[in-house]
Subunit: 485 residues, 2 copies
């Protein structure tokens, strides 16, 4: 344990120096031997540190010369700023814009860079189909019957077993299945809040979570968030007295893609537990890690059942199956009651199929392939952005997940850019939908899960050109395209 | 239209006279010719009236002699009383009892007379399995992809087409799919209420609806309900100023099984529309009619989009598929938004399978068989109850659906009976879980959807004997078994 912690610390330390620009592109790193003696770690551990960093595209080996900081043009692009939301700003929903962006869901005449799900060709569809057919044949009543309230036992057993990969040590009785992760988050929020309560979220935040909070009558406090480290703990501390619940996406958060360091995860769990504020942890993206190590979850630091850990297979296997779950800690009875009255049962056959799929052991292979492809896509995107986007564009450094976050020069309005791009057949997510405040007008999210192609490069070029043309318009015209969808 | 209305009026009129005991068991009815001339209807319409009444087991033909009021022993059993809940009583959840009853869900060592779903052998399981397999093979990505937000278009088209059977005239764009009917009710209540609001329900009421309302922080007003006509409109009228939403199950309501007369449906829709109180209509049981006519829904009288009509295939085809829907009238946008944030998508493959099944045209045949079997079961149960239950037991007259409601002599505590029966391997639903008030202590619900058998007759005999033994205990011991589960 202690050794693992040291290994993570060293890796994160170097990774952060690279991301923050302390170590520059092309700079040489110490040798394996030197790293080992500097930190008092074994040669093997030092090698693992470099492999992890290479996995994150942060360093590259050169034959006979050792490791160097990646000189991808991308790493010359600056990082986005730490966000600076106003702590108790009045919540203003980007209603109309949300509706517009979501209405493009399922349109196959568009390049959908706005939808954060893996495209079908990245998923093991043939195997999943087979599992559905076998589950239908195998279940005594073909899946027509209700499940037990807590959910499919084999699925819960497999999710519990897999929790070892993030030091979770869950048991099957700790878990309740749900209709995807959004349904898990919805049940958690209903269990823990009443309208008028205040909830703390990262900023920028996944629009679905913002909308869910609003739909439950909650007041949202957006907390300053660093693009590499995640939510600013000091900022969060100041808000604690007003907060009823905290909801975080610490692993490969969309849109930023960061992975909160273990030390921060531990600190936040202890802080919230001390203040008796439940933490809802959305770990939907945790399995999609670009580095070799599956990151830990906040739940793994939870000693008192104060963390409600939620996840699903919607981003890694099958969005349309709606197979998700929650480990609700000490709130289990409340959650079960809510599941009973709001949805009664999950869908029997798809839960059985996913349970069986996980039992085949193919999931890990699939995750490796999926993550590798997404990481390659990320590098393709980064190079295209460096080539085609306006000077001064800042880009996130996702360590996993499905999305990239861009901060364009401040004079570019991405709501206008959204409409211009849509006319060219490309759908992007404008920054404003990731907040309930007056911020991120010059930001946007790109989904990196479409298969890479020359056409996609041209689409990114197109967005870059549109952004440049917007930049050159006189100020009075820069937001003129907002309404012209 | 007018002719249909006359037909319904005459049928209901005779039906009610029989149920209320105005026409006695064994009494002869007028001839077809006489009925026709009495009411100025055609011979064919008069014949339809008698067929409908025969379908409801209310009358029996005797060769060469005409129709007689059924002389089933059953019809000598009195009807339960109109309920008399206290209008603004403090809501008291039967929490522990609910948990006990629901924990028997899925136990296959018990005779489950407590669970209101059709047993597998009443369902077209082989055909449904085939549909799942074909849907999995047929969908381009095997159902792994999200559906459009509003739901499977073929399913919505089929549900819309079927709405003609109850004069609904819905179109596919009027419908949104949901994860079963409970999820539809949950979304409707979330759209229309905030905590602290008051909602009017029938009394007795399905426990799931009571629990759902409580979980959303709503205050429940239970309204006096007649076992044949449904909710008392005069009682409802007095409560209107305090009510935010009304939720009714007008067709084959569980537990009572009544079918609200068309004239009442019309009156309630007009009344609520006038007072701008939305009506959520749960029509889950509407397709399970013992008579030949599918009853109309309140929605069919709705001119202003004030009725949110909810239903599913959970009671008629496959509980475990969670395929339901809502026609939310003028609240469509609100409902769509809530579906987006609380569940995002229905499960693609099961919705496609049900859509395809409905398109085969087999559903109507299946419904006829299902309803016929349930009606036969109802008659078996009624005879057993007449034979074995304490003198003075009152029994509902379901015209469809899956359940029977019994009112035992007032000194019998059904919570104690529940525990005694459980020890004998039989699970029933005690009356107290159908209310948030201090009522129905001597009532119980029996599910009539298990396949009829001699064993089931013996189980009913067992319950009857236990009830009789409870009746004979000294008053101090009558509730002694409440806690001994």
């Amino acid at each position: 344990m202690k050794k693992d912690f040291l290994y993570s610390e060293i890796t994160n330390n170097i990774a952060n120096k690279i991301k923050l620009g302390v170590l520059k592109a092309g700079e040489k790193l110490p040798s394996v031997r030197k790293l080992s003696s500097q930190h008092g770690i074994s040669i093997n551990t030092a090698k693992r540190v470099f492999l992890e960093l290479e996995g994150q595209s942060l360093i590259q080996p050169k034959p006979q010369s050792g490791y160097f900081v990646s000189d991808l043009a991308f790493f010359k692009l600056p990082l986005p700023e730490t966000s600076s939301p106003i702590p108790f700003a009045q919540n203003r929903e980007p209603d109309e814009l949300m509706n517009e962006v979501y209405s493009t869901m399922g349109r196959n005449d568009l390049t959908l860079l706005s939808i954060g799900v893996a495209s079908g060709n990245l998923l093991p569809l043939a195997k999943l189909k087979k599992e559905i057919i076998q589950a239908t044949r195998g279940l005594s009543e073909g899946g027509s019957e209700y499940e037990p309230l807590q959910g499919n036992i084999k699925l819960r057993r497999m999710v519990a077993a897999r929790s070892l990969t993030w030091e979770g040590n869950l048991k099957e009785e700790d878990l309740i299945t749900t209709n995807g992760c959004m349904n898990a988050l919805s049940l958690c929020l209903m269990a823990l809040t009443k309208p008028g309560d205040t909830i703390a979220l990262e900023s920028p935040c996944y629009p679905g979570i913002l909308q869910l909070a609003v739909s439950l009558g909650l007041h949202v406090v957006e907390v300053a968030t660093h693009p590499v480290y995640g939510i600013e703990i000091e900022a969060l501390k100041k808000l604690l007295p007003q907060i009823k619940v905290c909801l975080l996406v610490p692993n490969f958060n969309t849109p930023l893609g960061y992975c909160m360091p273990d030390s921060s995860k531990k600190e936040i769990v202890e802080l919230l537990t001390k203040h008796e504020i439940p933490l809802i942890e959305d770990d939907t993206y945790g399995d999609i890690h670009f580095g070799p190590e599956r990151p830990r979850c906040c739940k793994s630091f939870d000693k008192e059942g104060n963390v409600l850990w939620c996840s699903s297979v919607s981003k890694t296997l099958a969005p349309g199956y709606r197979v998700g779950w929650v480990a609700p800690g000490k709130y289990k009875e409340k959650l079960l009651r809510l599941k009973l009255v709001h949805s009664l049962s999950s869908v029997t056959v798809v839960n059985e199929a996913i349970a069986n799929f996980l039992m085949t052991g193919r999931y890990d292979n699939h995750l490796r392939r999926l993550s590798k492809t997404l990481q390659e896509n990320y590098q393709h995107y980064a190079l295209a952005i460096a080539d085609f986007f306006p000077v001064g564009t800042k880009v996130s450094r996702p360590q996993g997940g499905l999305t990239l976050w861009l901060e364009l020069p401040h004079e570019i309005d991405t709501q206008t850019l959204y409409h211009y791009a849509l006319k060219k057949g490309i759908s992007i997510s404008p920054g404003r939908i990731f907040t309930l405040q007056d911020q991120f007008h010059n930001c946007l999210r790109l989904c990196i899960s479409l298969p890479w192609s020359e056409q996609l490069r041209l689409d990114l070029k197109q967005i870059g050109s549109l952004a440049k043309s917007l930049q050159q318009q006189p100020p009075s015209l820069r937001t003129a395209g907002r309404a012209c969808s």
